[in-house]
Amino acid sequence: MTRLLRGALAQGVRLFGTALAVALAVTLVSGTFILTDTIDSAFHQASADTGGSSDVVIRSTALFAAQANSLPEREPVPESLVAKIAAIPGVKAAWAAVQGYAELVDKQGQAIAAKGLPTVGSAVTPDVTLTAGRAPGPGEVAIDVETARRAGLVLGDKIKVLFSGSTQEFTIGGLLDAAGDVVASTKAIFDQVTAQRVLGVEGQVDAIPVEAEAGVSPDALRSRINAVLPDQYEAVTTAQVAQESAESWTQAVAFLPTALLLFAAVALLVGAFIICNTFSILVAQRARELALLRSLGASRAQLTASVLCEAVAVGLVGSVAGVLAGFGAARGLLALFGRMGFELPAASAVFLPRTAVVGVVAGVAVTVLAALAPARRATLISPVGALRGADGGRATSTSRRLALGSAAGLAGLATLLTGVLSGGDKPLVAVGLGAVGILVGLAALTPLVATPAAHFLGAPLVRLFGEPAFLGRENAMRSPRRTASTAAALMIGIGLVGVVAILAASVKASASRTVDDSLRADFVLTPAGLGGAVSGVPPVVIDRVRESPAVATVSEIRGGQWGLDGRNQTLLAVDPATVTAMHEIDDGSAAAVRRLDDKGVLVRDTVAERYGWRIGDPVPMTFAKTGTRKMLLQGTFSTTAVRTDYVITLGAYRANFAQQFSLEVDVALAPGVTAVQGRAEIERALADYPVVKVMDHSQVVAAQEEKVNRLLVPVTALLALSVIIALLGIANTLALSIHERTREVGLLRALGMARRQLRSMIRSEAAIIGGLGAMLGTVVALFFGWALVASMRHLGVTELVFPVAQLAGLAALATVAGMLAGILPARKAASLAVLQAISTDR
């Protein structure tokens, strides 16, 4: 066994490329875990800090909690309760907590948005720590030092603050410690009376934090308080509030690890191709040696084991390197998401043992699985056959490959088409599964077309570069399976990048189409910057616009979260009287909207069908503020212009939601007012409110495109990892092939091939493999792009656009990159000493 392993060790250097492929894929796995664990711990840490010195918190009960919300969403608590709580034995202190939207405006009139989150204004509490100045009195505000530093504000400066109902000016009286907020948003603190007034909760508070006397445990105090509290209020420990808050934020980013692991899975799949290929080549190269071992009495099991041991070793080395590289990846991902607009809390990296375990297990498992077939092939080498002939055990029959490949491909195709054509509930799942089947099928079938395809793709090279390219092409064609599986790895990467490009172009076109076809408003007001995206356009702004004489109609659209059977759902709230004039939708949906009143809800037809709801049925909707309400199903809609499944009226929204911000405000100008005049008027009305953006149709389209682009960059970057692994595969395959063909290289050089020509030959082979991968990838992208877009019709992706120039550029880039991947192996080949090469025994 050790003797067998020694043969394996000799290949060590040649396995470097494989280990690198494993390492890259595992890096993403490990990076994902480190990232999510770090975020998780940061959320928990910050949430725990938020509680301050309190032990228990009294608040309104709620059956539902929205995700990632930093503004109060529960029914307020009467202020009179504070004194009653303070009187309960065991309570050392109880105070009022008031929170709400308070956007700070800097000296230039711009909103000071921190980390893309809304500014939270609150009432001063006994446990607030000031770093400078004093606790705010009337007309004063205390802001956090970090914000002050960024905006260049000092004690005594005047600052304008935007509330949901008004704008007011304050003097900065104190500076707060910046630490201790879940999302480190900008903070503004007022005295209690002011806070209640400006935040619109006079006589009320959002919660009552309570500090326990020494010797009284939070749990005991909580029970004691709960015993005397009316039903609609509850006492919970601060620890529990922190836990809830952390969980709500973690859930809000729960899609992240899933999405990232998906990319990691793609990278591992591509890696598997490289691994399988490498081991196939190594086994073929060692056919003679393995046959010799067989004839000397080594058993099949021993040979398989020797190859698999090698796989385990490579997998281990690669995985460990990958797990460690995960630290860097986590940091990179953080930056990547920062670019997308998700500022995630920064904290020192958290490394759990689980990260190492999953990373190593995944890396080793993929390596071993990918090496299984080549290992089995090693044992099929007949002792005599391989000693005599050149290629041992190469006889995987074409017909079996054809059968298996076609079976997988057709099954995948059938699944995918069912998904696309049935228009069922979850077409994306079917399309995804089908895509995997088709990819596997294609990979299995590629060797059958590799020879003619390489011939075709190499033609222009041969015309350009002559004999060296001709020889390179012959090399690419001589082992179609090797060429094919190397190209197939690239096919997957390029295919997915292409699909994303098609999807992005289609989504943009669909958005533009929707605006052209259905937007009837002259202007659309949306929250400016990302800060507002979490809260929205404050009501005060809308009132100002409504008062403008240039404006005929203003229609608000609000968005919110609610619970159905314990699951988070979204809804939109509209004004039934005006919204259909702003957005033209199909007649049936429009009629349903116009019939909607404050007691009712509209549900997407497919969703209503799934739940078996009929017109007139009650839909149990749970709100954070008001609890479960039975809203009457007053109609269904089918339009994809509405990006949610549930629609209620603004009236119902006002009754059931604590915050009243709008996602979108549609404005129709008065007759006779030109667009230029209208914009000027609206902007004048908004002069004091830097948080709102006024957009005409083309700006709405541009904003949508911008949103798509922001997603496109990181997604493409993540897929690029798979492409890089595939390119590594090309370099690896070529290096192995050259090693195998050392003698041929020597012969060519002896016959007068110049080094330059030799390099050109190898680069040609690389370019052909790259071109094959690019070609297959483009075909895959076109087909999957079509399937994906077709299956996303219900999500409003109605247009199918092939960004031809982009796809062609991608294919060209992949081919060139493939050629570049050949540079190192080419250089290595050119550096071989001619005589030594020709007299090598291989």
């Binding site: 002559g466 001709f470 003698r743 005589l835």
Partner: protein, 262 residues
């Protein structure tokens, strides 16, 4: 290319072309080749002086390890001397840079190895024209046809090496060496892997190339019968030229080798 002033001759009726023209096709002067470092150094060539006349078929014989292959490699510019000089025609190889050496090999030298002469991916025809293709030249079709017919490969032109016998493969290599009309063909035991019949065919072909087209050939061989096809045998021992023989026969060659202790 050196002008050939000689009428074709038969095996029986030979003249000695090296006496006719003055510039040798190849020449080694005080050629020394050391291998290894100071302590373990091997003197593969130890002051070889030899001329190879144009249009002459020379065989090199000598005991194993006497430096025959080394001499041939140095003549072909595949290896460089430690001291002394080698020239092909009037080009001194030591002065050439790597790129010029490569071009020299491609354009002015034909090489036939003992085995593994052909690229497995190319057909016989493609292998034959490979050096020309590398030079970006097209073969002269008449000359190509002549060469192909002489080696008797017409019906094998589109086969790949794996589909050819060892003898046929060596004939393809010989055709390749000939088709670019090199100044000199260097062959290192070209018949070493062949049985006597296939070997005989190849040697007859080489003989014909010399007699018919005035080709210069230098061939290393262990086989006295093979050497008897040559016009002249140069004997090497311990890296030095120890003797030569004109108009050799197999018997005389055997005797001579015995004297050398090979």
């Amino acid at each position: 290319m050196t002008l050939i002033l000689r009428a074709p001759t038969t095996h029986e009726d030979r003249t000695f072309p090296h006496l006719v023209t003055s510039v040798p096709a190849a020449r080694a002067v005080n050629a020394v080749k050391l291998y290894g470092n100071a302590e373990t150094s091997v003197r593969a060539l130890d002051g070889v002086n030899v001329d190879f006349a144009p249009g002459c078929f020379t065989a090199i014989m000598g005991p194993s390890g006497s430096g025959k292959s080394t001499l041939l490699h140095c003549l072909a510019g595949l290896d460089d001397l430690t001291s002394g000089s080698i020239s092909i025609g009037d080009t001194i190889l030591g002065t050439l840079r790597e790129r010029q050496l490569t071009r020299l090999r491609r354009d002015r030298i034909g090489f036939i190895f003992q085995a593994f002469n052909l690229l497995p991916t190319l057909t016989a025809a493609e292998n034959i024209t490979l050096p020309l293709a590398l030079a970006g030249r097209r073969p002269d079709p008449d000359w190509f046809d002549t060469v192909v017919d002489v080696v008797g490969l017409r019906d094998r032109l589109h086969h790949r090496p794996a589909e050819l016998s060892g003898g046929q493969q060596q004939r393809v290599a010989a055709a390749r060496a000939l088709v670019s009309r090199p100044e000199i063909i260097l062959a290192d035991e070209p018949t070493g892997n062949l049985d006597s019949k296939a070997g005989g065919e190849l040697l007859a072909f080489m003989r014909r190339a010399v007699d018919g087209f005035g080709q210069t050939i230098v061939m290393v061989t262990h086989d006295p019968v093979a050497a008897s096809y040559a016009d002249r045998i140069v004997f090497l021992a311990d890296g030095q030229v120890v003797d030569e023989m004109f108009e050799p026969t197999a018997e005389r060659a055997i005797d001579h080798m015995k004297q050398l202790g090979g």
